[in-house]
């Protein structure tokens, strides 16, 4: 393809994009003559240029389209069908141009259908197009050239008007202030081939007011034109080939690297002479880097222009009224990145229009305005570009996502039950996942959001979903400012350094063997306990099969004092264990060799300041190696996790502080609470005196709910949700105050019905609420083990089980915890405990009769009884039954010393004597 044609293709494509967007705007605001003038001028330019280059099909089409547009200018009503027709024409032109770009010539074909339709439109109400009957043009300098040109050209086709008329119509279009210098384009005479090649190139440039002489001549008009239409193509700019910019960028990247090397050398040698010029070099390099990066920046709005057209077409097709609001269109973003996110953006907008927004009647029924709104937002925030597409539609139905995830085998029921809505929503970004009930033309084939995610993650970005049921969905994309240079954390593992992109790093933590942050193994998998949450962790050295002194983490439990890089990628949080964290550095990401590209654990390589090459780890790739294991063992892990969670709740427990029925603070150990939810009062219903709410597709009873008469029904009721074996129970509270981590020192003497006692937190008395009725007895017992234990705890309340188990375990005893006497009876023979600690706070005499039973047996271990309040009568009763000791439930000291007594001094044979 020759240069001329190439220029034409590039320019015309740009013009068409603008026409697209402008037409949509024009349809809404038909009185804006500036918009119309711009459209007319662009279409006209396209038509003119086609004439020169001998592209009859394009010319024909553009011409017919122009007629219709000129009809608008003459005051014909702007109708949706007319605009649709023109848009169709533009699409056809685009198709031809695409073919032209590919093959270098116009494809064969006939556009008579469109041309006929357009002509019918043009002729419709006002008869013949007004320009055809217009009087001869007013005399201008250009018209001379015009006439001679026309004589030289081929005879007119029947549907064509003379160029003069067109010129005049064109000149008239925006009124008298229309700059005349756009005219040479279609007018320049083409007889000798060489000048002809020159002319069209010149033409659009002139239009852009880039040629200084033209600008001088047309100064006032230019200013006016600019003022009248901000979107005018005219800008003080030079066209530079993208390849040139990319080369520049590469070179600057190299320069940055070299500078980093120099700085590294300077750091090692303390040479003052060297330092100050190096400082300057450093500054200049930084500025140069900024400057070159600037040249690659484009306002994100340039990717949005297409979207307004897309939304318009969709709203026609779907019969929905959709308004597209854009904000932050001027936010600048790296060209390359922009290209990469164009498709994802399109997907997201389509999704929003097709699935997100409801039909108008549905919307009205839901109390929303009939027209839906899609909001595009872009902003630069702390070194990242945030792009957001939100709609005010129905949002994503979490239940449907759940059902689908289960059906597709992406997760198990048990897993889903423990997931937050946010985590569940993420399933929609899995490949082949679509919640659309029906596959429509626009979307719903399950290739939507996973494409978005893979595109975005490919460029080191992050996708986030926020859905408010019935209120809409917001998809947020977080992108690095540029692809070429990234901030990275340089870490070391098994003696080798690696870079981890800063964008995916959430935090860095150091673990301690017995500290709050520590690494434990569950089922052979290392997990990190971080703020009461368990995260999967991987050792980089293990993932990469690097030999490490002292063995790997999985094989020995020396998990103390490790450095963990906590990463957050694609909704997964996980830790990467490294040996040391060196520093952060701006790195120039270099693509990895084609021989290594298949390795998902690396995203590239880079050269550090000291000249050494290091590999860039891809956290998502590293995670995959963990997550795969994770999904395979979820069932086993979830139970183990639950157990670990319960244990974690002792010693220092996380307590949720809240207020309910009074000003006093109340508390519940966080470990018992499944979820915190808020429900609108309007959603809470009354069935037979019980408050219930629809929750996860079922009715959930809410305890302690006071109907809020007179309150705003929009107000929300905070509810603590407790998971029982197969259902949830809600507990209404007035206010959730805080979550605190405290060591529980519960004073049971203040226990009242419904509470287990009180404790002091931050100098305030707090009631600990008894939730043993809410957290249902866990039916499943510990897998029967035949291991001998020191202490057997028989306790029906989960709360106390969680309290005692770690206490005894930390003291170094091997323990078994059993929920019921029946289970204990079976286990005692097998596990041969040296002492039994059992709950005697049970209705009836079952507990004491069990103690008697054991005492009579003679070979059984001593029993320490636990009671809420050890009154004299109870102590007496215990002694009679053959109890070794009776301890208050919150009397830690007492319990520990009593257990210590038994295991320290007495054997089972001595016990009988002691009793």
């Amino acid at each position: 393809m020759d240069d001329l044609l190439k220029d034409f293709v590039v320019e015309t494509s740009e013009h068409l994009d603008i026409v697209d967007a402008e037409l949509v705007r024009f349809e809404r605001d038909p009185n804006n003559s500036a918009t119309l003038a711009l459209i007319f001028r662009l279409v006209h330019t396209i038509k003119g240029t086609c004439g020169f280059l001998g592209l009859p099909r394009l010319e024909h089409l553009a011409h017919a389209g122009e007629d219709v547009i000129s009809g608008f200018r003459d005051g014909k009503p702007v109708t949706a069908p007319a605009v649709t027709m023109i848009l169709k024409t533009i699409d056809r032109i685009k198709g031809i141009i695409a073919e032209l770009e590919r093959s270098g010539s116009e494809p064969d074909g006939d556009d008579e259908d469109l041309v006929q339709a357009l002509r019918a439109l043009a002729n419709e109400p006002a008869g013949a197009p007004p320009l055809a009957t217009a009087p001869p043009p007013a005399v201008t300098i250009e018209s001379k050239g015009n006439l001679s040109f026309q004589i030289l050209e081929r005879p007119l086709r029947e549907d064509e008007v003379t160029l003069d008329e067109l010129e005049r119509a064109f000149r008239d279009a925006p009124g008298p202030e229309m700059p005349p210098f756009v005219e040479p384009a279609p007018v320049a005479p083409p007889p000798p081939p060489a000048p002809a090649a020159e002319a069209p190139k010149e033409a659009p440039r002139k239009e852009k007011k880039a040629a200084p002489k033209v600008e001088a001549k047309a100064e006032p008009e230019a200013a006016e034109a600019q003022a009248s239409n901000e979107n005018s193509v005219s800008k003080q700019s030079v066209r530079v080939a993208v390849g040139t910019l990319d080369r520049l960028m590469t070179m600057v990247s190299e320069l940055v690297l070299t500078r980093n090397q120099l700085l590294e050398i300077a750091r090692q040698r303390d040479d003052a002479d060297f330092k100050s010029p190096l400082q300057r070099l450093s500054h200049i390099t930084a500025e140069l880097q900024d400057g070159v990066m600037q040249t690659r920046m484009q306002p994100i709005g340039s990717a949005w222009t297409k979207l307004s057209r897309v939304v318009r077409d969709l709203s026609e097709e779907l019969g929905k009224k959709i308004e597209l609001i854009q904000s932050g269109a001027e936010t600048e973003i790296d060209r390359q990145l922009l290209e990469m996110i164009k498709d994802p953006l399109l997907h997201m907008v389509r999704n929003a229009a097709d699935h997100g927004l409801e039909m108008p009647d549905e919307r009205v029924a839901a109390g929303k305005p009939a027209h839906g709104t899609i909001h595009l937002r872009a902003a630069q925030e702390s070194g990242y570009i945030i792009v957001e597409v939100s709609d005010d539609g129905r949002g994503i139905d979490v239940e449907r996502v759940k059902a689908k995830a289960l059906r597709n085998g992406l997760s198990t029921e048990a897993d889903i039950a423990r997931m937050s809505d946010e985590q569940i929503l993420r399933f929609v970004m899995e490949p082949g996942f679509s919640t659309a009930a029906a596959v429509t033309n626009i979307s719903g084939r399950g290739v939507g959001l996973d494409v978005v995610r893979s595109h975005v993650e490919q460029v080191g970005g992050i996708v986030d979903l926020r859905s408010r049921a019935g209120r809409g969905l917001t998809v947020t994309i977080k992108l690095p400012l540029t692809l070429a240079i990234a901030s990275a954390l340089i870490v070391e593992a098994a003696g080798q350094r690696f870079a981890i992109p800063q964008i995916s790093v959430a935090e860095l933590v150091r673990t301690q063997e017995s500290g709050e942050v520590r690494i434990e193994t569950l089922n052979g998998q290392a997990t990190l306990r971080l703020r009461q949450r368990l995260l999967p962790v991987v050792d980089v050295a293990d993932v990469l099969n690097l030999p490490r002194q002292g063995g790997s983490l999985a094989t020995d439990n020396q998990a103390d004092d490790r450095l963990v890089v906590v990463c957050h990628v694609g909704g997964h949080r996980f830790g990467i264990i490294v040996d040391s964290i060196l520093h952060t550095e701006e790195i120039v990401v270099k693509p990895i060799s084609s021989k290594l590209r298949h390795m998902s654990v690396y995203s590239g390589a880079t050269i550090l300041g000291d000249g050494s090459v290091i590999l860039i780890l891809e956290p998502a790739g590293v995670a995959r190696s963990v997550m795969e294991n994770g999904t395979r063992e979820t069932a086993a892990q979830s139970e183990a996790e639950l157990a670990a969670e319960l244990m974690a709740s002792a010693e220092r427990s996380l307590l949720l502080l809240f207020r309910a029925g009074g000003t006093n603070l109340k508390a519940i150990p966080l470990a018992f609470i499944g979820r915190l939810e808020e429900f609108e009062h309007a959603k809470i219903e009354d069935t037979g005196g019980r408050a219930v709410v629809q929750y996860q597709g079922r009715l959930m009873p809410i305890l302690g709910y006071q109907p809020q008469a007179g309150f705003d029904l929009e107000a929300r009721q905070p509810v603590l949700v407790f998971h029982q074996q197969d259902r949830e129970i809600g507990m209404a509270v007035d206010e959730i105050v805080d979550v605190v981590e405290v060591s529980i020192q519960i004073d049971t003497s203040h226990a009242t019905p419904g509470t287990v006692g009180a404790t002091i937190i931050d100098g305030k008395a707090v009631e600990i609420v008894d939730v043993s009725d809410l957290v249902a007895p866990e039916g499943q017992e510990k897998p029967a083990s035949d291991e001998q234990v020191d202490v057997m705890v028989i306790e029906s309340s989960e709360f106390f089980r969680a309290l005692f188990a770690p206490l005894l375990q930390n003291a170094g005893y091997r323990i078994a915890v059993l929920p019921s006497l029946q289970a204990a009876r079976l286990a005692i023979a097998r596990q041969k405990p040296s002492v039994i600690v059992m709950d005697l706070d049970q209705p009836g005499d079952e507990g004491f009769s069990f103690v008697r039973e054991l005492a009579e047996d003679g070979t059984s271990p001593p029993v320490i009884g636990l009671v809420s309040r050890a009154g004299p009568r109870l102590i007496e009763k215990g002694k009679v039954a053959g109890l070794y000791d009776l301890v208050g439930k919150f009397d830690r000291q007492g319990l520990m010393s009593s257990v210590g007594d038994v295991l320290g001094g007495y054997s089972t044979t001595q016990w009988g004597a002691a009793a």
Binding site: E254, N545, K595, V613, L615
Partner: protein, 161 residues
């Protein structure tokens, strides 16, 4: 000059080939000079954990990251034992727009050879050798194997994928 003579002369020009001679585990190997970019000694190589074993590592060659391949491994399917006292040498070759370094034991002269002195590969060589060998040149003292770099590097990408 008869047409036949001219043809023969042309052929011999075409056949005249310059080879960079290198040595791997004692075997003399020729690499076509047209694909050799440069020769460098390897310093500070970064290994790539878990990569194909033929990938020895990455080096910084004047600001470019070059992937170093173990030519000995590619040909013999086992890692070459090297004396550690000296820095290994590598031949930089370009393939599909990318530069690779091939580790060799020793780098010798550039030899101009014609097709006359060559023969196809004897059948008793190992499979890898047979696959990557274009032909065998009979030098005065010994035999030199001319390597088909394209076949070598392409096969490697297949292995990797």
């Amino acid at each position: 000059m008869s047409a036949e003579q001219r043809m023969r002369r042309d052929m011999s020009i075409v056949d005249e080939i310059q080879l960079v001679s290198v040595r791997i585990e004692g075997q003399l190997i020729g690499l076509p000079i047209t694909s050799v970019r440069d020769v460098f000694s390897i310093t500070a190589m970064t290994p790539v954990p878990k990569a194909d074993r033929a990938v020895a590592g990455l080096v910084n060659l004047r600001g470019h990251i070059v992937t170093i391949l173990d030519l000995g491994y590619l040909l013999n399917s086992r890692r070459t034992e090297r004396q550690s006292e000296q820095e290994p040498m590598a031949v930089g070759v370009e393939w599909q727009g990318e530069v690779f370094g091939l580790v060799v034991d020793e780098i010798g002269d550039v030899l101009s050879l014609s097709g006359d002195s060559s023969e196809p590969m004897p059948a008793n060589m190992g499979t890898n050798w047979a696959r990557f060998t274009r032909r065998v040149h009979k030098l005065e003292r010994e035999l030199m194997i001319e390597i088909d770099l394209h076949a070598l590097l392409e096969t490697m990408s297949l292995q990797a994928a």
